[in-house]
Amino acid sequence: MASNAATNEAFWRFLLGRLLIAALTLLAVSFMIYGLIELMPGDYAERELFRKYSGTGVTITQTEIDQVRAQLGLDRPFLVRYGEWLWHVMTRFDFGPAFRVETSVNALIGDKFLYTFVLVLGAMVFSYLIAIPVGIWVATRKSGWADGVVTLISYLGLALPNFAIALVLLMLNAFVFNLDVTGLVSQEFRGQPFSLAKFLDFLGHAYIPLLVLGWSTTAFQLQTMRGLMKDEMGKLYVTAAQARGLSGWPMLIKYPARHAVMPIVSTIGFDFSPLTNCPLSPRFWC
């Protein structure tokens, strides 16, 4: 199977190339953002002093500003500062201090990143677990009630704004089911270090954001899957597979679904970013 080995090698080379390009892109983006902020007039030293003395009537002198600037290392050239920041990120995964709230960026992101990540990942797994099989199933039905119901639910998910769904669910849970809806973990776990019990408690609370985050994504992917499946089902290789005696779900999964799922797989990345950037996520941070 020499050709298989060659195919594998080509695959890994492609993957490696892509990862390299991704790393270079991140580097370029970080440099551009750093540069854009540098282009803005004023720096953090001025802001820090303004914040400290605003409303007190104290006059800030240039010497004081220069002093703070030297303290924070802001007087060094742009490239040196960028280089130092990059070096710390790469070697220690340290994004530096967050001046405005007087802590570090790492502390600010902290375990909120973990919660967001688990929520986003959960929402995506949930979406795909529903969208792909239901999409396949609906595509194989002749237009009928199943198609109608699924399409209705899909369009509801696409049409209802996320915040509206969130508010309704919040209200239902608070007033109808009398559940605690104020955070992603129950009172007793708040501020506690991470533990299995806390994680399980989190999962018990997570279904609301999962539903809110996942519904529209699911709807979109389901309709995509359904449409692609319908196209693929008419292809000759499907007829040929049936003519060999393959039928039912094994046939659907091996042939049309495998073909239809490709555009969905290649857009997973597009789903990841809006879910991560979803303005809702911060409301569930604890």
Binding site: M1, S3, N4, K142, G234, K235, L236, Y237, T239, A240, A241, Q242, A243, R244, G245, L246, S247, G248, K254, Y255, R258, H259
Partner: protein, 342 residues
């Protein structure tokens, strides 16, 4: 029925499609038999219902197609059991066993009939293991042997290649191998040479004839090309708008066609001894399936119809002109009458 030797006997097959524009009749009251080891050629223009009728033999029609309840597709299995395929449920196990194992199919476009996601070997082995209780390695060996048998160079290498890596002729050989590796009793060949150039076409036709001699399967060969049919078929069925116009042994059909449609088809074949004469196409086009002509379906294009009222009103019944040679045309009654008067 006297001719119980047929491995496949289709009687009164009618197929209609429900579309947005209404019910479309694709095949209308078609009957034919397929003898073991023989080749039946089905010839007709595109839209004549050739493909639809053969796809129905394996219930491969799309879900909006319906086989009329009085149709029967009687198939005699390798074990000698009779099964009416027309009455089988789409999801029945028997159907899966017949598909590929008893009746196999090769297609016009092998590039589209193989999925580009899997190697040829993968798709062949899948078929073998659906019908035979063999290990993956055994199935692979059987696939390699069959690829070699159909004239594939380097079968051990080719089996791990994808259809798009092969040439058109090799791809069709792979298709034939994947159909014949299950040793079907019936092979349906749906225009298998149409997408190939003439030299490769001749090679594939020779190969099919050779494999038929070796394995003894019956072949149902569909083509729009009467010249190809005359090379490979023992019997011919001429179809037009879903109806059988004429059926009989290939020699009599070519030399002495009885139906005006068959006569037109034969006149339309370019001939090397008449290079100076223009080609004679059959006038007109196949009408839209939504506007099926009344009476004889061929009458709007038939040179004899304008002066005969019943061509426009009555559906002609197939009449035997010679033993085994039947044609459905009102002109034939007139000939018989003439002979009686004489």
């Amino acid at each position: 029925m006297a001719e119980d030797s047929a491995v496949l006997r289709v009687s009164n097959l009618s197929i209609s499609f429900s579309t947005d524009e209404g019910l479309v009749t694709a095949v209308d009251d078609l009957s034919f038999g397929l003898e073991p080891g023989k080749t039946l050629g089905i010839v007709g223009e595109s839209g004549s219902g050739k493909s639809v009728s053969t796809k129905s033999l394996m219930q491969l029609l799309p879900s909006n197609a319906a086989i009329a309840p009085n149709s029967s597709i009687l198939y005699q299995t390798k074990q000698g059991k009779y099964i009416d395929i027309a009455k089988l449920d789409r999801r029945s196990k028997t159907l899966d066993q017949i598909r590929g194992g008893e009746i196999a199919m090769i297609f016009q476009e092998p590039s589209a009939a193989f999925s580009p996601l899997y190697t040829i070997g993968n798709q062949m082995i899948e078929g073998i293991r659906l019908h035979r209780n063999v290990s993956r390695a055994q199935a692979r060996q059987q696939a390699i042997d069959m690829l070699e048998r159909v004239g594939m160079t380097n079968p051990e290498l080719r089996i791990d290649q994808y259809a798009f890596q092969l040439s058109g002729g090799m791809r069709q050989r792979a298709m034939i191998a994947s159909a014949l590796v299950m040793r079907p009793a019936v092979l349906i060949a749906d225009e298998p040479t149409t997408a190939l150039d003439v030299t490769i076409q001749a090679q594939i036709l020779d190969l099919l004839a050779e494999l038929q001699n070796e394995f003894g399967m019956a072949i149902l060969f569909i083509s729009h090309d009467l010249a190809v049919i005359s090379q490979i078929a023992d019997d011919v069925l001429v179809m037009y708008l879903g109806r059988a116009m004429e059926t009989g042994p290939v020699r009599t059909i070519i030399r002495d066609p009885q139906h005006p449609y068959t006569q037109g088809l034969i006149k339309a074949i370019p001939r090397i001894d008449r290079l100076d004469q223009p080609l004679l196409p059959i006038p007109g086009d196949i009408p839209s399936p939504l506007e099926r002509p009344q009476g004889c379906v061929f009458h709007p294009r038939c040179p004899h119809a304008p002066d005969r009222l019943r061509c426009r009103t009555d559906v002609p019944v197939a009449a035997e002109t010679d033993p085994h040679h039947r044609a459905a045309c009102h002109l034939l009654d007139e000939k018989v009458l003439e002979e009686v008067h004489r």
